[in-house]
């Protein structure tokens, strides 16, 4: 349907796995209290949230989660083995600690003994095994299935130890378990009941109308200290941006995601409303498939890269909620960011120059777009085509229906709009979308040098060399790659001034990486 920005369908796996591995690598088994604390949280109050997404087809089955609405629910009602802390480090959650064999082939997770389900039963190893298995095997249609392929075997060792055997060593393995798919459910003779409402999270479900609302009530016997402050939480699906903003201004909801950036400057004027932004690694891309004409010519790609006015897009589309991109997916906030690279900017003459180098006098290409790709993609495309005119190119904007965008346009059309939730490290980012072998190499870009560097980087331990390697890879992306990356965006949400957030929030995804329900509170 039109208003559920179908990004959601794409979202989980695109930005899901391994997100949040910290810049400094990993800190195994660190204590829980290193987090910077804000003004002391206060219990009580009801939080009403207006959500863009949410669909009548939503269900509690963790294998089918498709949108923010369910992600947030999942984190509130259930919990995961590992959580990513606001500072980006991985922290044990249901797990009390975990350790790996030196070759990182075998991982042993020890469960905490005080964690209980809402029906009072203690969390046992069997629960974990069945919960993970639910996403594996031929029948599984879980979005996270591809990532669990690396698991050779799971077994429970006693009641509170779970052992994972992997195909190859993977030092980043624990990060997987932050994913909302991998919430732990109750085992019933070897399997979980996916629709069961019994979870280990801070809240229990009072009412659930898929695609309409869900009402949550705090568990008084929640085992995690210093979390779950709201007494009640109501998530409402409010598809229409204007309706969301109205609801916030009339005080019918306390928090909305994705306010309409067009009018956010007007929303700001409201004294009872505050705008909340998170930087993170989210960025918008316009992948050109380098296997398709005319994009197989690098000069055409460069011409287009110089024919887009990135400033204008940041200002007009993102309304300043973002920074210009430089045609590679590494955010300035990330490690190994290559600051030396000269910034691509709108330069008609250069564009014309490259165009003539490619032997073309003029260029006629179609850019396929939809606001499903990212909020404002259509406007951005229009801006692009306007700017391109200046460089003597005819860029036709074709607006596609929001539904089915990811199945019918992305990876299908030679030149379209897309986005990446981003990855915490260059290695993960590049392997996800730029490696020759990546499922989602949406530019079909296969640069030998680049892929060779990627392999080296993963095994390389010397920070200096790593910096060089990733620096060069960024440069290769920028000058040769097929992805036109005009801007890095911010997650923007708006909330009543009553809603309090910690000083440091997890920035990977919107709203404290969608763990806001148990982390935030009412003044």
């Amino acid at each position: 349907m039109m208003l559920k920005t179908t990004t959601a369908l794409a979202a989980p796996t695109r930005r899901g796995f391994l997100a949040g591995a910290a810049a400094g690598g990993m800190a195994l088994g660190l204590g829980l209290n290193t987090r910077a604390r804000a003004a002391e949280p206060k219990k009580g109050g009801t939080l009403r949230v207006g959500y863009t997404q949410g669909s009548t087809s939503d269900s509690l089955d963790p294998a089918t989660y498709a949108n923010d609405f369910m992600f947030a629910t999942s984190y509130a009602v259930f919990s995961t083995l590992v959580e990513i802390a606001p500072d980006g480090t991985a922290q044990p959650d249901l797990a009390e600690s975990y350790e790996a064999t030196p070759d990182a082939h075998v991982w042993t997770f020890r469960l905490r003994d005080d964690a209980t389900f809402s029906d009072g039963k203690r969390v046992a190893a069997a629960d974990v095994v069945s919960s993970i298995r639910h996403h594996m095997g031929p029948e599984s249609k879980s979005g996270i299935k591809p990532l669990l392929a690396q698991i050779k075997d799971i077994r429970a060792d006693g009641d509170n130890v779970v052992i994972f055997e992997l195909e190859d060593g993977n030092a980043d393995f624990p990060f997987i378990f932050n994913d909302y798919h991998l919430t732990i459910r109750q085992d019933k003779d070897g399997a979980i009941d996916p629709e069961s409402r019994i979870g280990t999270g801070g809240y229990v479900i009072e009412a659930f109308e898929p695609g309409v609302r869900i009402e949550l009530k705090r568990r008084d016997d929640y085992w995690k200290a210093g979390r779950a402050h709201f007494d009640k939480v109501v998530l409402l699906k409010v598809g229409d941006p204007a309706a969301r903003m109205n609801a916030l201004m009339t005080g019918e909801v306390d928090l909305i995601d994705r306010p309409d950036l067009k009018t956010i400057h007007l929303l700001k004027r409201n004294r009872n409303v505050k705008i909340h932004t998170q930087n993170g690694t989210l960025h918008y891309t316009m992948p050109m498939q380098v296997t398709a004409a005319p994009f197989e010519d690098v000069n055409v790609r460069l011409a287009l890269k110089h024919a887009i006015d990135r400033e204008a897009i940041v200002q007009k589309v993102l309304k300043g909620f973002g920074t210009v991109g430089n045609d590679h997916p590494i955010a300035s906030s990330m490690p190994y960011y290559n600051a030396e690279l000269e910034q691509h900017s709108y330069d008609p003459d250069k564009a014309k120059h490259y165009l003539s180098k490619s032997g073309l006098s003029s260029l006629d290409v179609t850019l396929y777009t939809a606001d499903a790709a990212f909020n404002g993609a259509v406007d951005a495309s229009v801006l692009f085509s306007e700017a391109a005119k200046g460089a003597g190119m005819n860029l036709k904007v074709s607006r596609e229906p929001d539904d089915g965008y990811w199945s019918n346009v992305w990876l299908q059309k030679p030149f379209c709009c897309s986005y990446w939730g981003g990855r915490p490290t260059p290695d993960l980012m590049f392997s996800a979308g730029y490696a020759a072998t990546a499922d989602w190499n949406d530019t079909s870009w296969k640069n030998e040098r680049f892929n060779q560097l990627l392999a080296e980087g993963r095994s390389q331990l010397d920070q200096g060399l790593r910096a060089e390697i990733y620096g060069e890879m960024q440069q290769l992306c920028q000058t040769d790659g097929g992805a036109l990356i005009p801007a890095f965006g911010q997650y923007v949400s708006a909330m009543s001034t009553k809603v309090q957030t910690p000083e440091q929030v997890s920035e990977m995804w919107d709203l404290d990486s969608t763990r806001f329900i148990e982390r935030w509170w009412m003044a």
Binding site: M2, L3, P241, A242, M245, N246, M249, D260, K262, T263, L266, L267, R269, A312, K316, A370, D371, V378, D379, S381, V382, L383, S385, E386, V397, S398, R399, E400, P401, D402, D403, G404
Partner: protein, 271 residues
Amino acid sequence: MKTLKSAPTTALLGMLILAAVLLTGVFAPLLAPYGETEIVGVEYEPWSAAFPLGTDNLGRDMLSRMIYGARNTVGLALLTTGIAFTAGAALGMLAALKGGWTDQALSRVIDVLMAVPPLILALMLLAIVGPSIPNMVGVIAVIYIAPVYRLSRAAAMNVVSQDFIQAAQLRGEGTLWLLRREVLPNISSTLIAEFGLRFCFVFLFIAALSFLGIGIQPPTADWGSMVKENATLITFGDITPLIPAAAIALLTIAINFIVDWMLHRASGLKS
């Protein structure tokens, strides 16, 4: 000319507005101060000498977009309605004239078509064929064939029962001739009146489709999507979206004034 003189002021006013809009559409490039999609300023600039109606969410000149919008909105709506009427009227008259099986078959198909909610039909069809402008025109036309068919069938029924049709049939005239020369001229006034109304519905329908995201493609300026693009502003009492909306309303009212008058004349001719 004589008939024009007898027209009530409302109808004259209506024609005036309609003519104005049509002319604006035709001469858009000459009238518009800026290009249709040209970005000429900061977004949401207030009204000024440079931008008489301010600028929109991308900093395009509202006035220019309004002027081009006249061309696209009215043009497309006209085209769509035109197609729907040609097909619908032809089939309707045929059913009325032939009666029997032809009538049954056609009418049943139309029933089915009408029983499916139009918006859903549009969503499905557009999802199938893809939301390009030609496709949209086609789909909406198909949807509007149904009501037009019913109307023209009903109107034609009154005509075919009259003796001059029998006279022509007894002469051995062909179907096409009967439809074109004997029936059509007698239901044209009814059809024209209906055309006016349908025309309005059509571009409201286009507006609704734009609202649901599958209407006219950007950056093309049409009044419907212009309302949609700037609709959220209304929340804050900014009147920018009111301008295209007002334009739509004005045109609709104008057309209906003309239609009312035509209906009046049509009924006058009968009695």
